[in-house]
Each structure stands twice: as structure tokens, then as C-alpha cells.
């Protein structure tokens, strides 16, 4: 009795005190954040002042120092610093220092730095953070960056919001269909097409997947005696991460958002039907393994694990996992995605931005422009993780060959057609975060709404209709 009384009293007093002090404490936080946010600027400007005193002139001191943050290991940071050193040596006004932060904690770290007013001058930003950061006034306008330049980034790689160009992607990526050639050969089935004009319809895709799905007794879906509970090899897997699902909604004539990103279209029949078709690959067609979006390792789980013959995912997988698997004997190919009504793939790529806290936006932009010329990202591009952003790499065949003809890639003709040409074709559309705010909220909610759709407990139609208001609220940022 005593214990519970004292706990109750303790709780009560904590609540009372906190409700009084909490507000005051919070005000103090705001107040104290102001001087600290001016701290980097004063240290930066002191460098400028130092350069004004003539007796201390020294080429190094005259340089404007800027920091560039990137995600990656310390080793990757050293590689980029070596590139930056070339830039530093090439001119005598700007000195770039590279800070590498591990991918998992990258955005958390930047948020913390932003709060403390300690952001780097420029750096990479995750796709879904660009418009949000911009709308909170954290980014500089970079629309002037490529004025008068001979080769611009692909237009689908500019982050645009309310008519302003906020940032350019640091890399290009598209969604593809990967397939295991050995499984196709064994089943005697023709490979998926790498040319856009020969792309499979959804029905052709499902029919082929059925031929590649086998149970323990060697039966295919639709045959007598086929047992869906003893499948040993699946024909296809379509990645169902929410942002990738938009591909199918668009392909079916629907979409998640209107073209300007202001209206929500996910409730339309065409969008809902597309999502249901993806779920039915497991539920009705029995050609796909179950995936409920709990992990983000689609290619490892399917193509590399050797359990699935075809799988959709992003082009980065060539460099992040497939090249290692290839060395260990995996014989894979790349193809264009199948389509429902329109041929669609999504372009994406993390952004390079200039933060608004910087005192040196012009210098930061100059560095970014220099750094974004692909010669400087060669390590990431030649390994297959990044695709170049500048148009010339897609249009000039000698440059394309320089990029693709190396052992990290599938055969040149196949990759050129299924990836390089595909990325520039009319099928390639920018992922939603290039023009829509609050995509993180929206995708989290959509993932949770669709959880029971993949297992067939509910239909896409019911799940989305039931949660349409919440999805609208998430899209408008009122969630």
C-alpha cells in the first residue's frame, strides 16, 4: 500500500512540475539554439577576415573552406576526399573537406546537425527528404547551377517543387526486371525482352512465370495435382515496397498522385487494380513468393538466393549485390519491366544539395557541379551502383561503352537496351519524391495499409477505401 501511494504521489508531482517547467525549459532550448546556430558562421567568417589582413597572406588561408557530407564508410569517404583533393588542387579559391557518415544514421545525423545549426555547406540528401527540407527552408536554390552548360542532367532527375528546382540527383537509377538465365534455359523458356518495344504485357509475364514455377513433383500452377504449399521454385517476384508499387499504378493508367503532386489518385480503380494484380501473383497465380514488405532485400531474397526466376528492383543492385553473386557463378540478365496499359519505369536517385545554413552557396555549387561530372564518381558508376546523371553518357555511344563495357555489368547490348536506353525512354518517369512532399509519411502509411492485402485477408480495394482519408491526410502533411 505504501509503495503504491508513494509511486502515485511521485507521478503526480513529476507531472505537476513538468507541466510548469516543461514550457519554460523548452523556451530556453529555443533561445540557446540561436547563438549556437550562428557559431559556424562566425568561425567561417573569421576565415574570411583573416584573409583581409595582408601580412598573414598565405594561399591556403585565402581559400574558402566548405564541407561536403556523403553517406558511406570511412573508406568510401577517403575515396571521395581524394577526388575532392583534385578539385582543391585545380583552383585556389575553394577547399573541400569530405565527411562520410554511415547510410543507416545519415539522415539522423543531418537532422541533429540542422537542429544545432552545424550542417555542412553541401552534401547528399535522401530522396524523400529533399522537398521536406526545402519546405522547411533548409536548402538553397540551385536552379542556376547548369546555366550555360553544354551537358545537363537528365530532366527526370531534377527535384522540382512549386516551379522551383531544388536539387539534382547525384545518381540515376531505374527499376528493371532481373532474371536468372540458367532457370530459363532449364525450363526452355525464352528470356524476357531487353528492348522496350518488345516489352511483355502483364499477362505474358504471368504466363511465363507459371512455366518457371514448379512444385516438388515438377508440376506448374494450373496443372492437375499442383500443390501451392510445396513450391520449390517461383517464377516471379514483383517488389512491393510502396514507392516501387507506384510503377504499376501508373502502368495501369492510374497513379498515386496527379502529375503536379497535389492530388491523390491512389483511390482510383486503375491504381487499386494494379496493386491487387501484384498481390495476386502470390494469392491467385501462385507464381510469386509471399513478401509483406518487412525487409528491403528483394534481390538477395530472390535472384541471388536462387529461389525465384525473375524479380523487379532498382538498377543499383547490379553493383551492390549482383556483381558479387556473378563472380560466384550466378548467370543473370536484365530486361525491361512488363506493363499493364502503359510502359512505365521509375527514375530515382539521392540528391546533392546546398544547405541554406552555408555562408558560401556559390562555392558550394561550383564544387557540386564539378563533382557531378561523372569522371569524378567513376568508382560508383563503373561498379554498377550509380548510373550517370548527365545526358551525354546516354547519347554518345563511345561514352556508353566506356561506362558499361566492364565485367561488373551484364553483356553490353542487353544492358544498353534494358537500362541505358530504358532510362531515357518515354517509359521513365520520376519517382514521386521528385515533385511531392511528405512521401515518407505516405509510404509508411501505405505500407501499413497494404499489410493484409499481400496475405489475402483483405483486398486492395477495401484496404485503400477504408484508409483513404488517412492517406489523404498523410499526403497533405496533416498526419
Amino acid at each position: 500500500m505504501k509503495a503504491s501511494k508513494s509511486i502515485g504521489a511521485g507521478l503526480l508531482s513529476v507531472l505537476l512540475v513538468s507541466s510548469v517547467v516543461g514550457c519554460g525549459n523548452n523556451e530556453k532550448n529555443t533561445a540557446s539554439s540561436t547563438p549556437s546556430s550562428s557559431a559556424p558562421s562566425s568561425s567561417a567568417s573569421s576565415g574570411g577576415e583573416a584573409s583581409k589582413t595582408p601580412e598573414k597572406t598565405d594561399t591556403k588561408k585565402e581559400k574558402v573552406k566548405i564541407t561536403y557530407s556523403m553517406w558511406g564508410s570511412a573508406e568510401e569517404g577517403n575515396v571521395t576526399q581524394a577526388v575532392a583533393d583534385k578539385f582543391n588542387a585545380s583552383q585556389d579559391r575553394i577547399e573541400v573537406e569530405v565527411v562520410a557518415i554511415p547510410w543507416e544514421s545519415y539522415m539522423t545525423k543531418l537532422n541533429t546537425q540542422a537542429t544545432g545549426g552545424q550542417l555542412p555547406d553541401t552534401g547528399m540528401l535522401k530522396e524523400d527528404g529533399v522537398i521536406q527540407w526545402s519546405s522547411e527552408g533548409m536548402l538553397n536554390d540551385v536552379s542556376a547551377m547548369y546555366e550555360g552548360s553544354d551537358s545537363k542532367p537528365l530532366d527526370s532527375l531534377a527535384y522540382k517543387y512549386q516551379g522551383k528546382t531544388l536539387a539534382y540527383a547525384a545518381a540515376n537509377e531505374v527499376l528493371l526486371l532481373y532474371y536468372n538465365k540458367d532457370m530459363f534455359d532449364k525450363a526452355g523458356v525464352a528470356y524476357p525482352p531487353s528492348a522496350l518495344d518488345k516489352a511483355w504485357t502483364w499477362d505474358e509475364f504471368v504466363a511465363t512465370a507459371k512455366k518457371l514455377t514448379v512444385d516438388k513433383k515438377g508440376k506448374h500452377p494450373g496443372e492437375d495435382g499442383f500443390d501451392k504449399d510445396s513450391i520449390v521454385q517461383y517464377g516471379a517476384s514483383v517488389e512491393n515496397l510502396p514507392w516501387q508499387l507506384e510503377t504499376w499504378a501508373l502502368s495501369n493508367g492510374g497513379g498515386f498522385y496527379s502529375a503536379d503532386g497535389t492530388e491523390l489518385r491512389i483511390g482510383e480503380d486503375a491504381s487499386v487494380e494494379a496493386i491487387q494484380k501484384v498481390a495476386d501473383l502470390y494469392l491467385k497465380d501462385h507464381v510469386a513468393p509471399l513478401s509483406v514488405g518487412q525487409t528491403d532485400d528483394g534481390i538477395q531474397r530472390t535472384i541471388i538466393a536462387g529461389t525465384v526466376a525473375m524479380a523487379t528492383n532498382g538498377a543499383w543492385n547490379v553493383g551492390t549485390s549482383l556483381n558479387t553473386a556473378k563472380e560466384e557463378g550466378l548467370n543473370y540478365g536484365v530486361a525491361v519491366l512488363p506493363y499493364m496499359k502503359d510502359k512505365v519505369t521509375l527514375n530515382t536517385g539521392g540528391a546533392n544539395v546546398v544547405f541554406s545554413q552555408t555562408k558560401h552557396p556559390a562555392e558550394a555549387m561550383e564544387w557540386l557541379k564539378w563533382y557531378n561530372s561523372e569522371e569524378n564518381n567513376w568508382g560508383l558508376i563503373s561498379s554498377g551502383i550509380w548510373m550517370p546523371t548527365l545526358e551525354k553518357w546516354y547519347t554518345d555511344e563511345s561514352l556508353t561503352r566506356k561506362w558499361v563495357e566492364n565485367p561488373n555489368f551484364p553483356p553490353y547490348d542487353e544492358y544498353k537496351s534494358a537500362v541505358v536506353d530504358y532510362a531515357r525512354s518515354s517509359a521513365a518517369r520520376p519517382a514521386a519524391w521528385f515533385y511531392t512532399n511528405h512521401t515518407t509519411d505516405f509510404n509508411t502509411l501505405l505500407g501499413s495499409v497494404l499489410g493484409d492485402v499481400w496475405t489475402g485477408k483483405t483486398t486492395a480495394k477495401d484496404a485503400i477505401a477504408k484508409n483513404l482519408d488517412a492517406l489523404k491526410a498523410a499526403h497533405s502533411g496533416n498526419n
Binding site: 512540475v17 513538468s18 516543461g22 522547411e136 504449399d229 515518407t440 499489410g451 499481400w454 488517412a470
Partner: protein, 307 residues
């Protein structure tokens, strides 16, 4: 009269000197408590009244975050239900399991030390490794459990990919991890006086009667301690959601601490996340209070009732 007041005055002086020393000795502990516990707690409450995102300046919005949480938030209701469901299953499961195992290990069996280690090992293994291992057991398409099921001709169970099975499946892992409870129960069992058992045996009580009327009452303070610790730990569950399920399918494993993490460090709604934190705090406090309040009725204190 005079002497009495003198001595009491002297006693008071001694007391106050002792008290002074005591207070000085307590300062480090209080500093820790204030700056590591109360100030952060108050800051959380303060931030929960703002729309802070970590980027722009925080704006005071009163109780809007709380209003939103209780009216339009698409996650919190499912989240509270999932957490309480998980905690009840895990607490009940791990209490019964660990008491049972502790009683087995308390017997004079061969290789007792070895078995004691075996049941404690899960508790000291690194969490990430454990969950990767279990993810392969539970995997819906080719996982080990489903392989076994298909070998004996049963249809597949989706385990953590199915919204109705995910919480029981995760609870099973948490029961399996309850090695620390076993150790505490074992220590308690060794303190149950054997004379009681011997006397009862002579009176013709069978094993079950002895368990019910001797072991359980003697163990009740230990059971209370384990219950409390296990309840608090399981209400704060987050690792399985982070490591295995991402809170899914749907919201079925979006535990409150995971929800808070997601709001704060994925969606960067820090003010909102702080409001969620306070709700978690309130729920934990409520459960703890109920447990304390009811404890007198069933805890058996040796040496009588010493309220």
C-alpha cells in the same frame, strides 16, 4: 527535565550532522537523477507541446499533438493493442516457462550445470544474431518451420508475415529469451526451506499440493519481482519490430516504442514522438501501479504482514 532536553538537543545535533553527511553523499546520485532522468523527462514533455521537426524552430502548439494522437492518428490505437497483447502473452509465457524450467533445474539431475547454461545462453546471445536466426525459422516461403510442416503434409503457416500470427510468433522468441528469469527463480527456489516440504510429505501431501501450498507462497516475492521486470521490459518491446517485421504486416507488430522511433527518427516529427513517449510512460505507469496495488493480496511475507 533538563537532562532530557539536553540529550535530545544533543541527539538532534548528531542527527543533523549525520543528515548533512548523508545529504552530501547523496548529491552525486541526485545529480544523476536530475540531469539524466528528470530534466530529459521534462524536456520530453516540453517538446511534446511543440510541432518541432528538428529543422525549423519549434512552435508551441499546446496539446494539439495529443489531440491528434487520440483522434486522427492512423497507428496509435493498433499500436497500443499490439503492445499490450504482446506483453501479456510474453509475460504469461515466460513466467510459466521459466518457473517450470527453474524447478526442473532445481532437481538433482545429471549434468545440471550444463543444462543451466543451455537455458541461459539465449539471454546472452547478441540480439541481431538471434533475430536473423529466427527469421529463417519463420520465413513464410522456404523457412525451416514451413519445411517441416510441408514434410509432414501440412499447409504452410505464415508466422511473422501474417497479421494474426505475428505477435504470438514474436512472443515465443521472447519466452525463449527468458533466461534471466530462470536464474532468479532458481535462486528463489533454493531458498524455499526444505523442512516445509519434508513436513508436508510426512502429512501425505502430493507433489502438486506441495507446489501449490509451499513453493508458490514461498516464491511469491520472487514471482512479483520477475513479473514486474518482465512486464516493464515487454511493454517497452522494440527489437523484434526493428529486426524482423518493420512493424508489419499492417500495424500488427507496430509496438509503441517502435512507433515512437519511427515518428522521431524516420519521419522526424520530434514533437509528435515526444507526445507518444508520454502516452507510453502513462501506460507503463498504470500497469505498474495496478501490479503494486494488487500485490499485497497475494505476496506471502515470511514473518507476517509488515505493512
Amino acid at each position: 527535565m533538563e537532562t532530557v532536553s539536553k540529550s535530545s538537543r544533543r541527539r538532534a545535533r548528531i542527527y543533523s550532522a549525520e543528515a548533512r553527511v548523508a545529504y552530501i553523499c547523496l548529491i552525486p546520485a541526485f545529480l544523476g537523477l536530475i540531469f539524466l532522468t528528470y530534466v530529459p523527462l521534462l524536456s520530453v514533455l516540453g517538446i511534446s507541446l511543440t510541432s518541432w521537426t528538428g529543422l525549423a524552430k519549434p512552435e508551441f502548439i499546446g496539446f494539439d499533438n495529443y489531440v491528434k494522437l487520440f483522434t486522427t492518428d492512423p497507428y496509435i490505437k493498433d499500436s497500443i493493442i499490439a503492445t499490450i497483447y504482446f506483453a501479456l502473452l510474453s509475460v504469461a509465457g515466460s513466467m510459466i516457462y521459466s518457473l517450470f524450467i527453474a524447478m526442473l533445474l532445481n532437481r538433482k539431475i545429471p549434468a545440471r550445470g550444463f543444462f543451466r547454461a543451455v537455458f541461459y545462453v539465449p539471454y546472452v546471445l547478441p540480439a541481431a544474431a538471434i533475430y536473423v536466426g529466427w527469421s529463417w525459422l519463420y520465413e513464410a516461403n522456404f523457412g525451416f518451420f514451413n519445411y517441416l510442416l510441408s514434410e509432414i503434409g501440412l499447409s504452410k503457416v505464415l508466422f511473422i508475415a501474417d497479421s494474426s500470427y505475428v505477435v504470438p510468433s514474436l512472443s515465443l522468441i521472447s519466452v525463449w529469451l527468458a533466461g534471466n528469469l530462470i536464474v532468479i527463480f532458481l535462486a528463489g527456489l533454493q531458498n524455499v526451506p526444505s523442512v516445509y516440504h519434508e513436513a508436508a510429505e510426512m502429512d501425505g501431501a502430493n507433489g502438486w499440493q506441495r507446489f501449490l501450498h509451499i513453493t508458490l507462497p514461498c516464491m511469491s516475492p520472487i514471482i512479483f519481482y520477475n513479473l514486474l521486470m518482465s512486464l516493464i521490459a515487454n511493454l517497452q518491446v522494440v527489437t523484434p519490430a526493428l529486426a524482423l517485421t518493420n512493424g508489419g504486416p499492417g500495424n500488427s507488430s507496430r509496438f509503441m516504442t517502435y512507433l515512437m522511433y519511427d515518428q522521431a527518427f524516420v519521419n522526424y516529427k520530434l514533437g509528435y514522438a515526444c507526445a507518444t513517449t508520454f502516452i507510453i510512460f502513462a501506460i507503463l505507469a498504470a500497469f505498474t501501479a495496478v501490479l503494486f496495488k494488487t500485490s499485497n493480496r497475494w505476496i506471502f511475507n515470511e514473518g507476517g504482514d509488515d505493512k
